[in-house]
């Protein structure tokens, strides 16, 4: 984790996007995306370049040279520094310039902003707010992604919707029988009762759908020939991570009473990071406790989950377009399926309010 040279500004969104809390850890990338080759990504409305030092530490700098604003990400990583493609100025992991080819001296203000980053649980986490407040203990626990007792597949989407719409969608399972009728939906789900619990910075719910035909994806993955009991346990943790423990077990094998060993479990995580304007990055993985290391099963699940998420992408992007283009600003009628998402939105609103207070804005 590298220090940062300057505090983030207090403005919390740009280009008309939804506001987001700044003093939080967000996933910038999967760990394996950040290498010795620079990676450019616009996060929280700021252009960032990510790379690794010779020792393997991740680095995040603002992706604009202090000179002419050329993108550093188009240059080369040289030792622990990155070289601007325009005039060859080199900047170290802390953003401080160490060389200007056309002159002998490097002035003390030749610095680009650096951001605290941490490599944990398969993601590179970035902190784009006040670096003095960056505490790695607050990084969301997404350990399922690289848990050695599970086998995971993963991917990401750059969604043309804001991060709130993406989180809403992850916390609402009542769209499954409609949007995902051919993948993970189960018609009976929407009638089953749910339990909700939560705290200051989290909210969770569980829904058991008993004695139901398995969803198309669970049927393929688990090879079920009878009806199943299906569980759906979802936990939101601030600012924008959703952990999903979902599975099915043949009826009569005791899953509702606690024995899920005859079924299949999928431990998924979705973590959402605001991008530019009303766009966001949605990083997902699905880890399983069966067919461990089986490449064929990994291919099947990666393909099925990608297909399923593309169904979400289509609908959330249509919804965002309609919200954005609605100059009448028609009200939205909230329904039962929004209960958990509304609690998550209240947590985010409270994070935003406390940042407003602390900045005096």
């Amino acid at each position: 984790m590298n220090g940062s040279s300057a505090a983030g500004s207090n403005s919390r969104s740009r280009a008309g996007g939804a506001p987001y809390p700044l003093n939080q850890w967000y996933a910038a990338a999967f760990s394996d995306e950040v290498t010795r080759k620079p990676l450019a990504r616009t996060l929280l409305d700021r252009q960032v370049v990510l790379y690794r030092t010779e020792g393997g530490d991740p680095v995040a700098l603002i992706d604009r040279c202090i000179h002419r604003k050329a993108p550093l990400s188009q240059g080369a990583v040289v030792g622990d520094a990155i070289e601007c493609p325009f005039h060859g100025m080199k900047f170290g992991p802390d953003g401080v310039c160490i060389s200007i080819p056309c002159q002998d001296k490097v002035p003390p203000n030749a610095i680009v902003q650096s951001f605290p980053v941490v490599d944990r649980h398969g993601h590179i986490w970035i902190w784009m707010g006040d670096p003095a407040s960056a505490d790695p203990a607050e990084i969301p626990d997404t350990h399922w992604l690289n848990d050695p007792s599970l086998t995971a597949v993963k991917g990401y989407f750059h969604l043309k919707c804001n991060y709130l719409t993406a989180i809403d969608n992850l916390l609402d399972d009542t769209h499954l029988p409609f949007v995902h009728r051919n993948s993970i939906g189960t018609p009976k789900m929407v009638g089953a009762p749910i339990d909700i619990e939560g705290g200051d910075d989290w909210v969770a719910f569980s829904r058991w759908t008993l004695d139901t035909p398995p969803s198309p994806v669970h049927a393929k993955a688990g090879g079920f020939t009878t009806n199943v009991d299906r569980w759906f346990m979802v936990k939101y943790v601030k600012p924008s991570t959703v952990l999903i423990d979902v599975g099915s077990a043949p009826i009569g094998t005791g899953a509702p009473a606690g024995d899920r060993s005859k079924g299949i479990s999928l431990f998924s995580n979705g973590t959402v990071t605001p991008g530019e304007g009303n766009s966001c990055f949605y990083f997902w993985h699905t880890a399983r406790n069966f067919s461990l290391g089986d490449a064929g099963m990994s291919d099947l699940l990666k393909s099925e989950m990608t297909k399923t998420f593309l169904e979400d992408v289509e609908i959330v992007e249509m919804v965002q377009r309609n919200v954005d283009s609605d100059e009448e600003d028609l009200p939205q009628l909230m329904i039962a399926g929004d209960a958990v998402a509304l609690r998550a939105r209240r947590i985010i609103a409270s994070l935003l309010a406390s940042e407003s207070l602390s900045s005096g804005a």
Copy 2:
């Protein structure tokens, strides 16, 4: 014709387009475009979904679910209702929600706006203003389109120009020798005198061009071997429909005196509906009184009229781009050929003014 649950707003244009009167009937589609499969179309800056009930009645609803604003047009028609693709809420022809799958009760405010629609003369007409004022007797008469004694071809364009520019073009025949020199233009036309007459909500003109070579299209359709007398009789009716009775007859066969039986007549209608911003839908048909039911003649005329209209599309879209991008706001010099269009514009201005008055704006 279905009732509507809410009055339209008083704002008459959005996204920078030209203002238009709201309390008018506009063509939403050709009758045969509206089926049991939902049709999405943005009319008067509002997203609308059109479909038919099991009994065949046309329905027009706002194309945004009351819940998350998802487009209903992406869902399925089920019985007389349309089902939202996101969470399965169903709305009847009057816009009232009849089912919310994730909850037992449907609250009384679960309604989307519906619009009066009428299926007449080959078009579905929509009224997007105050539904209490919607009187089907005011629907423009475009009966030529499905007159059994004529054979018609038809089509539509979604033009990137505002509806006024499209109407101007339909009411000005002095561009024919230039824009349409290779299709329906006749050089001598611009020199021929015109008669103009009109009333509160209409204006018409006629122009006879005597003893002139036929236009390329008339020559092909009528097989003329001599010069012709050409008539051009155009009538605008509010808010945006133009009826065109045009034809040619060999010289000396008495057409100017009233006997057009030796020539060919084409009865065309152009009706224009504001779309989103500076765009509009231009629905056209051309009905003929010769070669009735002859598929080869229909193909010829459809192809020639489409080619001709594409010449218009090119020029009116260039003009709209130039008007929109003219930050100097250069004045426009009106010329003789604009006389009829200017009268139509005055009628539209007076419709707009009376709506302003009645809304107190």
Copy 3:
């Protein structure tokens, strides 16, 4: 050179681009681009149509008809006039309308703006400010382009960056070892001393890089087998022209002392004209004093120079995008290589200031 009917407005940029002096000669096109076929080009944020009269004189008119703003450039040149494609109105070289087909009289205000233009040194130069101040003696001297003792290749780019960014780049040779490392860059250049001199409306510098391996392009063009002495002599003249005298000669053949006869000389000119918003036209040529008339050498140089300029295009357009999208408005740190560009920017600022004064703005 045709007169102009109206003074330009005092606004000096539109659509968010950088301001530019209006009362200056700018290159509108290469001489051979302007023919009897109309050429449309947006210069200094105004749409212009260029063509030649029957006698060969260049004509520049605003490319919007006074009637409906249709683009004259889509019409035909007829005699010395241009005919509007929409209704056939004809305008002479002075912008005065000479015919309106649908009416007998031409009103006195039927005029489109014309601009002074001069055909000189291989370019058509246009004056878009106050025509009373247009003095052809102030046209920049780019005679290398059609000097009979040299052989030139040429081309142009429509850059998505403003004209200042393009000029900055031409006046800064310290980017060559980075942006052009595989074409015209020489690593040792950035360490070599430069001499700067200048006046009220020009600034020049020269840099000798001694005993250096030749750049890849010079090596190919000159066939050098030893190290060379390389010169780089650059002169900016207002408002936006840069003359570049560059070459290499084998070491020990006396080039630094004045005898360049054993080497190769390339006389290049770059002249930049503001386009629409933050875009500009960059006209370049490279004339040589060797292999005169050799088509193979012309092909080689045209291909190598184009490749080199495309390296510039890529970086200056990235820089412009970053400057435009930088809502934080981060400061830019100037470095040694910016010295000459900063002096040129001061000359332009002073031209802008004096126009402000004279317009009372």
